[in-house]
Symmetry: D2
Subunit: 279 residues, 4 copies
């Protein structure tokens, strides 16, 4: 008996659940968990089904499902769960360390293939954790050149996702396009507050009582991609910028790791600039 | 087009979702939301389905569902959502007020039929909110007599649920039995910590850094019924018993009202001493 | 023995705490709680001292404190704690009800003198709670006229604070100026996100995973006054605008009531566009 | 200019703050932050004062403070903040990794001198982080022998604190006595709920909706020491024991690291079985 995760999105219409479950039954698949959502505004249907059974021929199953669904349906059958990822960093260690520790102790739900940094600061730690570290400086070169060098490294690996773990360079629309839907970023504010640079300084100057962080898919609009997870933490007048940054790092790593867990377990649909997440 | 909520629990077996959805399709019902859970330990299946359609004859639909489910299946079809409730209180106003305010402004999701108190303190407020108040003192009578008087009042109404909103008398197993699965209590601690009397005093003496509250179904074991909702709040050394009580009241009313919302929307299954809640 | 709360703000310099405590000792006052904060950026010192003792002549004590502090010092001696407030509302009941319930049961820490609404919706409930309700419509008149009518009512009372409990009209700079530092508003978003109208709609369209609320002092820049309290709550793809509004109301009332408690206990200093809060 | 942290506890009496601040002023010390607390039940006074100034001779300052305080006063002057710690572990990595990562990147506020484990599982990781790992098996020896071996290792270092980072052996009263007030433990439940073994299994069987963790000082009563920090996380019917353990680990490490930060910054007083924490 194997486990199979089925992700389906399509225009909403009457009878979808019945159609899908009948196909699964006809293949002797047993549903162990099923979640669905109808986006009423966009008349769209989303479902995630975990099932068990024998299914050597997932192609046939997929074909059968497509035959019983509206034309625009997207069907994704996932039989293995271990994702392959690259991590991009600058100088801050806290998100990278959390990822590499979980990777080391096999609780990340993914394999980190490499770390790419635009500085050397995190090489030592990364290599101690047994992961190859590639230094690609952004200095003295233009963005296309910088990104070409990164891509050359990424191309050496078969990757499902790129994780920007406090990578402080803005990626071009072209680069983002090449990895469409595969780049996850941690932004150090609760978007849409404090878009752009230095959010903790902005937060300090505004005198807010909460700070936060946002994990999101990267699109070509800076800080505008579909949001996956957000959390906040309370601060008070005793927090200067430095203390906000320190408290914020704890939120950032929690938010990013929660997003990665959902991602690696195939629980996230992207629909326009929003996410649908079946926890 | 009407809305129908279907609750089903039964022993787990292969094909349940398919069987159920096929019956619904054959009745031209459209599933708008569906949640299911398999309790692997007890091999039990639970589902809550919200659907729309024409269904004058829910009896036939229920019959058809039962025919397609294992013998021990329980099927509950709910076409109207407004529940009728009685509230039992002692002297503290905070939970009662929250309930009666929402009742007054039609956002409770239920109708409060009456309030019964073993003191007179809350009569004035209750009556201002337009709800009949019945005083049943527990003094100078034994528990069977006390409970008989309460029952006599309750019997004047058609009630779905009794809400113990800081009702500080312990109900007998007999009384609880008469309203099995229909009594909800708010306990002023995060169970199972601080079972029994004066939990805030216990919390203060232990020097805890969080206090909490628990909404649960009442069974004949005091404070042992299936838990619906729990929340906690942080306290510190500045909190004496009085300050803990004050902070605790805010938690209590939030926890109780959240539980009532889930209850009145038919989102809760009870299974043994646990709840399964489809939020 | 009486209780006295002392609030002092002044330019920071060496020896302030010693100077202050020596004056208190010379008046036989016993310090039971003391909090202080130095705003290093602005070289400003703030302290809140709760003490007990005999002090018929607070004028002399104030004089003595001022003599021992830098020139620009502001000293505030508070011997009674019950504040007098007016509440301004539009149509939503949730914040007003929370305030009037606590007022009714004497746990607000203030007396509500009157409620002013630009609609009639909340008259009935307000009057049941024993508080005078004044209807001042904003229709068919200009803002100066509208505000003049409100002021005429407010002038009938001796008021410490005006609470905007979901009052949906923007007050003019002139009006705000007349009650400088005395107007508290609840804004239905975690500022500075979603400034302006319809924040829940903005939140829904952006696909955020948290919503929030902000209580703040009102200044003549809309939504830009010093922030007192903020909280957030998690939402997900199941939340439409309606559900966000509903969940948001619970956050709004919690945030506003927490701010009022701090305010009525004289725990808040305003410094520029920020607050310093001694919890 | 140096920084000095002063911790004082003594029986409460009138004039303590004045006495203390006058001594500090006479030594030209500038108070930059001061917190105090009066435990009314036990008539005890606690203060933490951060000040700056010149103070080669802290002995004289301490003497002067003692002369101006009640007989039983305890005065602690702390001029350097870096604490030296040993970490005791069993097999679980999550708390240890968090500590060693922060140690590695110099954000722990302490130096980890060594790790002692009763299994070999965590040696590899510890040594990669550059910290000596000592294996002391508890097998085939009695507790006095086991603890003697641990002590022999600890004696090689000058240690301020022992951190039990999921160390799953119960220490004897004798051992605890030797490091009185210096041992911190992370317990995997929100005490006092689920004292003892296997709290997540207990939590699962009780059907709770929150799990938690507690960091506390170790005394000779198991799980009864003064509590430093506690947090909770929500769980639901989808959580089996395994999922509760997984979610719990995130809470455990957050709770422990928060406690260590407070400890290493000298913010905690122990008074009886409680803590007073000046955040």
């Amino acid at each position: 008996m194997n486990e199979l995760t089925i992700l389906i999105s399509c225009p909403d219409q009457v009878g979808l659940v019945t159609n899908i479950t009948c196909v699964l039954a006809s293949h002797q698949l047993n549903i162990i968990a099923m979640r669905e959502f109808v986006d009423e505004a966009n008349k769209a249907f989303f479902t995630r089904i975990a099932c068990t059974g024998e299914f050597e021929e997932t192609d046939k199953l997929k074909q059968k499902l497509l035959e019983n669904l509206p034309n625009a349906a997207v069907v994704n059958l996932i039989t293995q769960k271990e994702k392959q990822v690259a991590v991009l960093v600058t100088k801050e260690y806290h998100c990278l360390a959390e990822i590499l520790i979980k990777n080391q102790f096999k609780t990340l739900g993914a394999n980190v293939q490499c770390v790419i940094g635009n500085y050397e600061e995190l090489r030592n730690f990364t290599e101690k954790m047994g992961i190859p570290y590639f230094h690609v400086s952004h200095l003295e070169k233009d963005k296309p050149q910088f990104e070409a060098e990164i891509k050359e490294i990424l191309n050496q690996f078969e990757l499902d996702y790129l994780v920007l773990a406090k990578f402080m360079r803005i990626l071009s629309a072209d680069f983002v396009e090449s990895y469409s839907g595969k780049i996850i970023n941690i932004h150090h504010s609760f978007l849409p507050a404090f878009i752009g640079a230095n959010p903790y300084k902005q937060a300090f100057e505004r005198g807010v009582k909460i700070i936060g962080a946002t994990a999101h898919f990267v699109t070509d609009n800076l800080d505008e991609g579909p949001i996956i997870t957000q959390h906040t933490a309370h601060v008070d007048h005793n927090f200067g910028v430095k203390e906000m940054v320190r408290a914020g790092k704890e939120v950032e790593k929690a938010v990013l790791l929660e997003a990665l867990e959902l991602l690696f377990e195939d629980r996230i649909f992207v629909s326009g600039n929003k996410t649908i997440i079946f926890k």
